[in-house]
């Protein structure tokens, strides 16, 4: 395939993915908007007013970056896992596997599609959050870099989950039993400074801590962890997950007999 043909194939996958989640927007774009609005109302306005300041900001301002990242993580992951597993389950993935499209183009198409949903949801949630809190982005490029890299990383995790999943139960196990606890314990609602030293140390093993704090630093300028280290870790995880995903596609593991 020439580079132009690869570009066409990439755009085709991307457009198909975007069309898919826009077609079912009540399932893909509306729920995070409703859920996050509830978070803002309950944790920010009702409970937050009693908590007071955290890290030098109102509680509402403190939780907003974490909630935005929570949306990005869950939506990027959910988009790729459901889309790719759906294609695998219904055998429509064969349309791509029989074509000359290289594995890295297929992966890039699916990941970019998922990222676009993650970013779109981030935009929706950020817009909603402005009705509840005043935000001034401190480091724009770092913020965008973290959110983009995080979206890519969790799209890749979703892809790996989809490849290994045998049924629809398998695609909900990781989000329910791994992703959600990690998000909730990743410092979305509290600062690690509030934890005893031991639990603060344990929390630092949670990759979501770096995602949330990296983004919080970009938006508010405060973080519980070293931001360069956080960015480096997210980048490293992305490279490892990307390489492994490509290996799965090229060898056809769980996709070809």
């Amino acid at each position: 395939m020439s580079n132009y043909e690869k570009w066409v194939a990439f755009c085709t996958i991307l457009i198909k993915e975007v069309r898919r989640y826009l077609r079912i927007w009540p399932q893909t774009l509306l729920p995070p908007a409703i859920t996050m609005t509830l978070y803002f109302v309950i944790f920010g306005t009702l409970i937050g007013s009693r908590i007071g300041e955290m890290g030098g900001f109102t509680y509402m301002q403190f939780v907003v970056p974490g909630l935005i990242m929570m949306s990005v993580v869950t939506n990027s992951y959910a988009n790729l896992v459901s889309s790719f597993f759906g294609a695998k389950y219904g055998h429509s993935i064969e349309e791509l596997l029989v074509s000359p499209t290289p594995g890295y183009v297929i992966l890039a198409g699916f990941v970019t599609g998922s990222c676009s949903r993650g970013m779109l949801v981030a935009l929706i949630v950020t817009t909603l959050s402005l009705m509840f809190a005043e935000l001034q982005v401190q480091h724009l490029w770092l913020t965008l870099g973290i959110v983009l890299l995080t979206s890519i990383l969790f799209s890749l995790f979703g892809f790996i989950n989809a490849v290994f999943a045998n049924n629809f139960d398998d695609i909900s196990i990781i989000p329910t039993f791994v992703l959600t606890p990690l998000i909730y314990l990743g410092g979305v609602f509290y600062s690690l400074e509030l934890l005893p030293d031991f639990w603060a140390g344990v929390s630092r093993l949670n990759p979501l801590v770096y995602v949330v704090n990296g983004f919080r630093y970009g938006v508010l300028g405060v973080s519980d962890v070293d931001v360069r280290f956080a960015f480096g870790m997210i980048f490293l995880f992305t490279v490892v997950a990307g390489t492994y995903s490509l290996h799965l596609l090229n060898t056809g593991k769980r996709l070809r007999q």
Binding site: S2, V8, A9, K16, A87, E95, L97, V98, P102, Q257
Partner: protein
């Protein structure tokens, strides 16, 4: 003449130890209409799966128009089109989008993909359904949609895995005409089917696979010449006499119908003479079963006997 497909000593052992292919070799010339036949589980779909990279081969080589799939599979894939046995498109997508998207996977610019999609959907009688979701189509329409999708990148070699399964007779004949026309235009076609009349009508060459081995690989005409006897059913205008004996092994089905077994060397003139001598008139005559079907069944029985002897 260019060889469209050359398979040499192809082996496939699945993870569970099942040896699906035991050293298959065959070649298909460019422009051919080729039948790949065999009973269920013979290995036909495994061969097709390997050809389209849905199944990894264990050993052997496959060349598509001289391109070794181990060396340049993407280039080989550009020359290949497949109509699989099972529906494998997203049922919630629009018919037109399914075909255009497939073109995109082969690097076709959007404008060209849309033009070709329109062309093939019109030819296959699906244009009116272009905005329908695939799940709203009938079984025959879904099969035609898969044919349109497989052709959008204009493959030189088209493989059809039971394309007319579950399709009504009229639609089958329309599909036959369409396949004949694209074959006449230069597309090499490999067809697997359980309808042996379909293979006999459409194909020029044939391979029969059984238990992972090729047991027959020849032209259909040469293959049918191996048929030693044929059974005919004759419908007679007059009642058959009780002691009727035309000098051929025969069976009286009813008073107006006779089933006769004719040896290849005997010819039919002697049979008609014997019938005329009795003052009987033949109203119509037909083969009891499809000739290819008879040969196919005989061959499989012989193959089973050989395996039993081994």
């Amino acid at each position: 003449m260019t060889t469209a497909l050359a398979i040499k000593n192809l082996h496939k052992v699945y993870g569970n130890g099942v040896e699906a292919l035991k050293g298959i070799s065959l070649s298909v010339e460019e422009g051919d209409f080729y039948a790949l036949l065999g009973p269920n589980g013979a290995g036909k779909s495994t061969v097709i799966g390997i050809l389209f990279s849905l199944i990894n081969k264990t050993a052997g080589s496959v060349e598509v128009f001289g391109i070794d799939i181990d060396k340049n599979f993407p280039q080989a894939k550009k020359a290949l089109g497949i109509v699989p046995q099972e529906f494998n498109f997203n049922m919630f997508e629009r018919v037109f989008d399914i075909v255009v998207t497939q073109g995109g996977y082969y690097g076709l610019p959007q404008k060209l993909a849309r033009e070709r999609a329109e062309n093939y959907l019109k030819e296959l009688g699906l244009w009116e359904k272009r905005d329908s979701q695939a799940r709203e189509l009938s079984g025959g329409m879904k099969r035609r949609l898969m044919i349109a999708r497989s052709l959008v990148h204009q493959p030189r070699l088209l493989v059809l895995d039971e394309p007319t399964a579950g399709v009504d007779i009229e639609m089958r004949r329309t599909m036959w005409d369409f396949l004949r026309s694209i074959n006449a235009a230069g597309t090499t076609i490999i067809l697997t089917t359980h309808y042996l009349d379909e293979a006999e009508t459409l194909c020029r060459n044939i391979a029969i696979i059984d238990e992972g081995r090729i047991i027959q690989h020849s032209g259909i005409r040469e293959f049918l010449q191996q048929l030693r006897t044929e059974k005919f059913i004759l419908d007679l205008r007059q009642e058959l006499p009780a002691d009727f004996s035309p000098g051929f092994p025969c069976e009286v089905v009813d008073q107006h119908t006779l089933e006769v077994m004719v040896d290849k060397d005997q010819g039919l003139n002697a049979l008609f003479r014997a019938i005329s001598a009795e003052g009987l008139e033949v109203a119509s005559m037909r083969n009891k079963s499809n000739r290819l079907e008879e040969m196919f069944v005989t061959l499989l029985a012989d193959s089973a006997d050989e395996r039993a002897d081994e």
